[in-house]
């Protein structure tokens, strides 16, 4: 999957959930919102690809809350291997 496109999509998601939440419990809620949205709507290969992009050093292309959400909720987002 095109990592650049996935990063843009993730940043767009982040701008919705993180907009009203700068710090505190609201920030935690926002980070979970970002991760949960990606978990609920992205095919596993897309999630794997954006986590791979994060690991490959593309975090600077991700908005800060999005990168934080991916890191904080990596387990949630990592697809379970299937037979």
């Amino acid at each position: 999957m095109d990592a650049g496109k996935l990063i843009k999509m993730a940043n767009d998601i982040g701008r919705f959930f993180a907009a009203p939440a700068a710090a505190g419990p609201a920030r935690d809620q926002a980070l979970f919102g970002i991760a949960d949205h990606i978990k609920r709507f992205w095919d596993p290969r897309m999630r794997s690809a954006i986590l791979a992009a994060l690991d490959a050093g593309h975090a600077q292309a991700l908005d800060e809350p999005v990168a934080a959400a991916l890191l904080a909720h990596r387990t949630l987002l990592t697809p379970v291997a299937k037979a």
């Binding site: 009203p20 095919d43 290969r45």
Partner: protein, 951 residues
């Protein structure tokens, strides 16, 4: 047009209980107050002769045929304009009345061609019937002045106007005014010189929109369908549902054998109540167009000729290819797209095939590119992914916001209802970058037109909300009782911020602050406030945010949960609502339940006998991306033309070209099918049984009126493909599919074909709690419990104007064409719209040296096409507009794959472009033409050649 199949009560029904008792010819009858004597008589089973009266129009009282005698009253009043009074004794048949009526008829017939035996209306003519009913036996008036040589206007492709047969009853004029609301017809002249006229012009040159209301109202053969003139009177009729827009009009398909003679809007149809538009009424000829593909075809490469094969060979080949691809690339390397033009039962089966036979959730539907943000936004705020009202509700609205929708073009029959309400006094606010017809048309003028810049919907909604909150116009009691308090408090604080004020947002939206403030006050204070919106809301990078913003506005003002209010998405295609309901999204099972929900998944696993994936699949744009990275290699597309309709055509074409097996199941070799390896011939809506669900959640029956031209209805084709994949689906009739849907989907538990036949239609939810359906949602509480206000921060789109691309392109639809035009381009509707054009403001045209009709290049960062310019003030300076009904226009060569953050719905409505005068077509268009010609050569010998787009 008189119809033998329906009862005409002469005047409209009056609401309320039957409380007035009258005696008509000795028969006692009780009717609601305000009922006419004519209608009361009909209720008692007594037909009073009539010509100018029909129950779709207000009484007029001009023909004098319906006179009656009333005890205690002088003279012989017209029964259509006389209202019943308690204890009234009416006589409809007396010697005096008979003499009067014969005299009236004699005058009519003295100026009417006596060509009944060769007349197209013979046997189905009210004038003829009335002559018989009054016992007319002679016409004493010989030669004299008459209208027998009056000309016939045949300019309209679908109906003719034979003035020599006109009795000037004004039914056509009144139908145009009272039903359609266009005011295109009038009576010119006085007395003997009176004649019906389309404003002194031929019909095709007039304001007539060819809705057919006048033809339906005509009691003679004056206004007559050309199909009836050609084919003769029908001998049977079948009630079915239109396959065009999301209004879902009910029609009677009037037939001779398996030949459709005409489509007549069904008076008992709950969505349309006897009205229609030019598409549903007349543009059905595509169903038997020579371009129909009637045999399955296969080929190894898209550059090979097609080979006609049996159904069995086609599905066996397709299945073997899908299995080969899955073995090579993985189970998730194939997927399918359901069709919003197909029935609920068919979309259900395609998603079932993908989930159960492919073993993944890679299923999506065209709602991805239109109303997926509606699903997300309304589910988040209200708890259900659907509109809140029935169409009838608009008749009780006091103020209506129409945002990003052009219903007179895209949802014309709903627009007619809306216009009648506006004429009656409701206020209108239009939020749209273009001056649509609703902004200003005969007897309609919007109170406010918020002509915002494309891409600023959220800024606009927030500024309206700011006014409502800061001017204390919130319905506090409603919000306190029905909404989540913490979310509301957060939202109230957010929208009250100065940055969201109309004054601050004016620079963003381009809408004067005073106008925005006035509109917000009007919506909040005028009484019942209803919001109707379309793709101008959803097809944005913040489409879902705007939908949530709209729901916020409605909740804040207490405008959800009763008649006359609500949040109403106007769905584009006939079964967009249904295809979404049926589980066409890759993350949801039927009934909008997430695939990760164990209980739901186990329910379907038990019913379908297979293990199901608990992870969301690919959405359409993701499928294209995955195709280009080689993790997705096979696709089954039923009834959609993604190569034409989806944005960034270069990207889509590359993705489709990379597929190893593309199976297209359609009635025509559409643009997508040119990239296909297997073609399964589809069936039109006339060739199958099923149901459609319209924009008001109304489930209506689709009934087969002719056998499938290719031998199988689409659901049968999917069953065959599933069987070839080794997954058996055992259905003998679509009713059994609906029974399965009802078993597995709580909002459909009470739906069955038997109940649909009994009730005519059903609005879901239909279950034990609502056994006959739910016209208005969220009446006592929101589906999610408490309504949830969402903070809707405005984020500017990436599509920004600049030196290279200084204009914003927005796209839309027009009345006579439908979506990608595969159907309407194969009808005489091309007489109105033979090509897509580019609307450009005179100022922008002048600075570029462009005049009306010039060929212009339209360039964006992703592509270039050319169109002819239409210089008009409908668009604001800085904005250009086009439609996408003709594939060679290439509108989507220019649009980008920028998309809604939540759903990936493409941002069709905002593309930064430049426009320049050119002399020749764009490179893509030349390539398109070459590829089209190649693909036509690959088809087996055909009865008629197919130029681009089927014209």
């Amino acid at each position: 047009m008189y119809s033998k199949d329906t009862i005409d009560f002469g005047t409209p029904a009056k609401p309320g209980a039957a409380t007035v008792a009258v005696d008509i010819d000795g028969v006692a009858v009780n009717v609601p107050a305000g009922t006419s004597v004519m209608r009361a008589a009909m209720e008692a089973g007594i037909a009073v002769p009539k010509l100018c009266a029909t129950d779709s129009l207000d009484a007029f009282g001009s023909c004098r045929l319906c006179v009656v005698e009333i005890e205690g009253k002088r003279g012989c009043p017209a029964s259509c304009t006389t209202i019943v009074e308690p204890g009234m004794k009416v006589h409809t048949q007396t010697p005096k009345l008979a003499q009067l009526r014969r005299g009236v008829m004699e005058l009519y017939i003295s100026d009417h061609p006596l060509d009944c035996l060769t007349c197209a209306a013979n046997g189905n003519c009210e004038l003829q019937n009335m002559a018989g009913a009054v016992g007319l036996r002679e016409v004493r008036y010989g030669e004299g002045a008459n209208h027998l040589d009056a000309p016939t206007d045949t300019s309209n492709p679908y109906f003719s106007f034979d003035a020599s047969k006109c009795i000037v009853c004004s039914r056509c004029v009144r139908a145009c005014d009272e039903v359609q609301g266009t005011f295109a017809l009038t009576v010119l002249g006085r007395g003997f010189d009176s004649k019906i006229s389309a404003g002194g012009k031929p019909f095709m040159d007039s304001d007539c929109v060819s809705c057919g209301a006048c033809v339906q109202a005509c009691p003679t053969a004056t206004l007559m369908e050309k199909s009836v003139i050609q084919l003769g009177q029908p001998d049977r009729s079948v009630v079915t549902t239109c396959a065009y827009c999301g209004v879902g009009c009910s029609f009677r398909a009037e037939m001779k054998g398996s030949q459709v003679v005409r489509m007549v809007p069904n008076k008992d149809g709950h969505a349309n109540e006897g009205h229609s538009c030019v598409k549903g009424r007349f543009a059905w000829g595509y169903a038997t167009h020579p371009d129909r593909i009637k045999h399955p075809m296969i080929r190894a490469s898209i550059h090979d000729p097609w080979r006609e094969v049996s159904w069995d060979e086609a599905v066996t080949y397709a299945a073997s290819e899908f299995r080969r691809i899955q073995a090579k690339y993985g189970r998730g390397a194939v997927g399918g797209i359901t069709s919003s033009r197909c029935t609920n039962e068919e979309t259900y089966l395609v998603q079932k095939l993908v989930r159960a036979a492919f073993g993944n959730n890679n299923v999506d539907t065209c709602a991805r590119v239109c109303h997926s943000p509606t699903g997300y936004g309304l589910k988040t705020t209200l708890g259900e992914s659907a509109g809140t009202q029935d169409f009838e509700s608009v008749e009780h609205a006091d103020v209506v916001i129409v945002m990003g929708a052009n219903p007179t073009d895209a949802h014309p029959v709903f627009a007619s209802r809306l216009k009648q309400r506006l004429i009656a006094g409701a206020k209108l606010i239009v939020i749209d970058p273009r001056k649509t017809d609703l902004v200003s048309s005969p007897h309609i003028r919007a109170a406010h037109h918020l002509q915002l810049r494309p891409g600023t919907n959220v800024a606009m909604i927030n500024s309206l909300a700011h006014v409502i909150v800061t001017e204390n116009r919130v319905d506090e009691a409603y919000v306190a009782a029905r909404c989540e308090p913490a979310d509301f408090a957060r939202w109230r604080e957010f929208v009250a911020l100065p940055k969201n004020s109309p004054e601050a947002m004016e620079a963003v939206t381009g809408v004067p602050a005073a106008t925005a403030r006035a509109a917000a006050r009007l919506y909040a204070t005028a009484g019942n406030g209803a919001i109707y919106y379309g793709l101008g809301v959803t097809e944005h990078s913040q489409g879902s945010t705007t939908v949530m913003g709209i729901a916020n506005l409605a909740m804040a003002t207490g405008n959800i949960g009763r008649t006359g209010v609500g949040v109403n998405p106007l769905r584009g295609q006939n079964n967009v609502q249904g295809s979404c309901d049926m589980g066409s999204f890759p993350h949801e099972f039927p009934g909008y339940r997430h695939v990760s929900d164990d209980a739901t998944r186990q329910l379907f696993e038990k019913a379908w006998g297979v293990a199901l994936d608990n992870e969301p699949g690919l959405r359409i744009p993701n499928m294209f991306d995955a195709s280009l990275d080689a993790s997705f290699r096979g696709m089954y597309v039923q009834g959609e033309d993604i190569a034409h309709s989806d944005p960034n055509t270069h990207h889509v074409e590359a993705a489709l070209s990379a597929l190893e097996c593309l199976v297209v199941h359609d009635i025509f070799l559409n643009e997508t099918a040119k990239y296909a390896h297997v073609f399964l011939p589809g069936a039109s809506f006339l060739e199958k049984d099923g149901t459609f669900t319209n924009a008001e959640r109304r489930i209506s029956r689709v009934r087969k009126v002719m056998p499938p031209l290719a031998g199988k209805a689409d659901w049968e084709g999917t069953v065959a493909l599933a069987a070839a994949l080794g997954y058996q689906m055992d259905y003998k009739h679509p009713s059994e599919i609906m029974d399965e849907i009802a078993r597995l989907t709580p909002t459909f538990h009470g739906v069955s074909y038997a109940k649909l036949d009994e009730l005519g239609s059903i609005q879901w939810p239909c279950n034990d709690a609502a056994p006959t359906g739910t016209p208005i949602m969220h009446e006592q509480a929101f589906v999610r419990g408490k309504g949830r206000f969402m903070v809707t921060e405005y984020v500017a789109t990436d599509e920004k104007v600049g030196p290279r691309f200084p204009l914003l392109l927005t796209t839309g639809r027009i009345l006579t064409q439908y979506n990608v035009g595969a159907q309407t381009r194969r009808t005489d509707n091309v007489a109105w719209h033979s090509e897509d054009t580019l609307e450009i403001h005179p100022h922008d045209a002048e600075t570029r040296g462009i005049v009306h009709g010039d060929r212009v290049a339209l360039r964006s960062r992703v592509g270039e096409t050319t169109l002819h310019a239409r210089v008009t003030e409908r668009v604001a300076p800085g904005v250009v507009y086009t439609t996408f009904h003709h594939p060679e226009s290439g509108a989507n060569v220019v649009t980008t794959d920028n998309s809604d953050w939540a759903t990936n719905c493409p941002e069709y409505k905002v593309t930064a472009v430049e426009v320049a005068k050119v002399m020749s077509v764009a490179a893509w268009q030349a390539k398109f033409d070459e590829f089209h010609r190649e693909q036509m050569r690959h088809l087996p010998a055909r009865p008629a050649s197919s130029p681009k787009g089927g014209r």
